[in-house]
């Protein structure tokens, strides 16, 4: 592709990463994969997700080329994630209060990914004053 070097400005193609793009951040990969998995398992039709995604993108479309590749990718997957959240809540699959609470738990570290990694439960969360734990105190009178 010799003529590539004669490109007049960095422009769009400068947003190119490698020939085979991968995900920029784990959360982007995860958001992508959750949407694909749910559709594959029939939780919703792909169209339903796509409509939401198109709406998110349209709503936020300012037609500016993002500063760089990283910003552009993050921007795209933020919309992807918002579309997914909106769809799941409006379909009644998830309840917004539950989602907010669970998100908070991950944000503050009360939960972490070990909960779905087999054999890696160390049940270490909640150490900082969580009342969710029954420590097995024997309140015998």
């Amino acid at each position: 592709m010799a003529d590539r070097d004669e490109r007049p400005s960095p422009g769009l193609a400068a947003l190119e990463g490698e020939e085979t793009p991968t995900f920029d951040a784990p959360w982007q990969a995860r958001a992508f994969a959750i949407a694909v998995a749910l559709s594959a398992d029939g939780a919703y039709e792909w169209d339903a997700f796509q409509d939401r995604l198109a709406a998110e993108i349209e709503q936020a479309d300012d037609s500016a080329v993002p500063a760089d590749r990283t910003a552009s990718e993050a921007d795209y997957y933020r919309r992807w994630l918002a579309a997914l959240e909106r769809l799941l809540v409006s379909d009644g699959v998830l309840e917004s209060g539950t989602l907010t609470e669970r998100t908070r738990e991950f944000a503050v570290g009360d939960r972490d990914a070990s909960e779905w990694v087999e054999g890696e439960h160390d049940h270490d969360h909640g150490a900082a004053g969580s009342d969710a734990h029954d420590h097995g105190h024997d309140h015998s009178r």
């Binding site: 490109r7 769009l12 193609a13 991968t22 995860r30 500016a64 990718e73 989602l99």
Partner: protein, 219 residues
């Protein structure tokens, strides 16, 4: 008791109103996806390894090589080429490990007087099964709008592909039901090569249509 006003007591009468924008302001996306994954696994809508499996597949297995294999076969086997243009996904499944049941892909063939370009103006959907993850520029507002309004200028100015004026450019806007992939013309210098050798000459950019591979360019 009759009551024709909307219920205002006990539970919310509205469908669950979720302020995503506020949610996004308050929490970082890592926590948000973790929460989704955690709740969906609890509800058995997601198996615990489904997400990791899909990520691994898209990062390591699916990529433009699938599409390149399809193109190389079409260049060497005229019957296959006909099947590919008639029934994209089932023909693709003959040579690449793709799931025929997912979204259909229509393959459009470049010709000496015709060039095809693929875009998704609404949401950046992409022939994932054959090309892997889309490049960053494919998802930008600029590409999505300019591919439709000024494809010739876009190709020349952004991608250095200067198509001659007598070449007609056809732009294909993907929809939720249908994705497109371009079958480029075989570069003359590759005539006589085997399918395996040809695979290396097929670029992702040519299968999207921002590059042409064979003829029809100025200069």
């Amino acid at each position: 008791m009759t009551d024709d006003s909307p219920a205002t007591t006990d539970t919310e009468s509205e469908p669950d109103e979720f302020d995503v924008d506020e949610h996004a302001r308050e929490h970082d996306p890592e926590a948000r996806v973790r929460a989704l994954q955690s709740l969906l696994i609890e509800q058995e809508l997601l198996s615990s390894d489904a997400v990791d499996d899909i990520i691994a597949t898209y990062e390591h297995e699916i990529g433009p090589k699938n599409g390149a294999r399809v193109v190389a076969r079409a260049w060497t086997d005229p019957d296959y080429r006909d099947r590919l243009l008639a029934e994209g996904m089932s023909a693709a499944a003959e040579v690449a490990d793709v799931d025929e049941d997912v979204v259909d892909i229509e393959v459009v063939a470049n010709a000496p007087d015709e060039h095809h370009l693929v875009v998704c103006t609404l949401c950046s959907c992409y022939p994932w099964a054959l090309l892997g993850l889309p490049p960053t520029w494919y998802k930008t507002p600029e590409y999505r709008s300019r591919a439709v309004k000024d494809p010739r200028g876009l190709l020349r100015e952004e991608f250095g592909t200067d198509l001659s004026d007598d070449l007609e450019i056809r732009v294909h806007d993907s929809t939720s039901e249908l994705r497109y992939m371009v079958l480029p013309q075989q570069p003359p210098e590759t005539e006589g090569m085997t399918e395996d050798e040809l695979v290396d000459h097929v670029t992702r950019d040519a299968m999207i249509g921002i590059d042409r591979l064979a003829g029809g360019q100025n200069g």
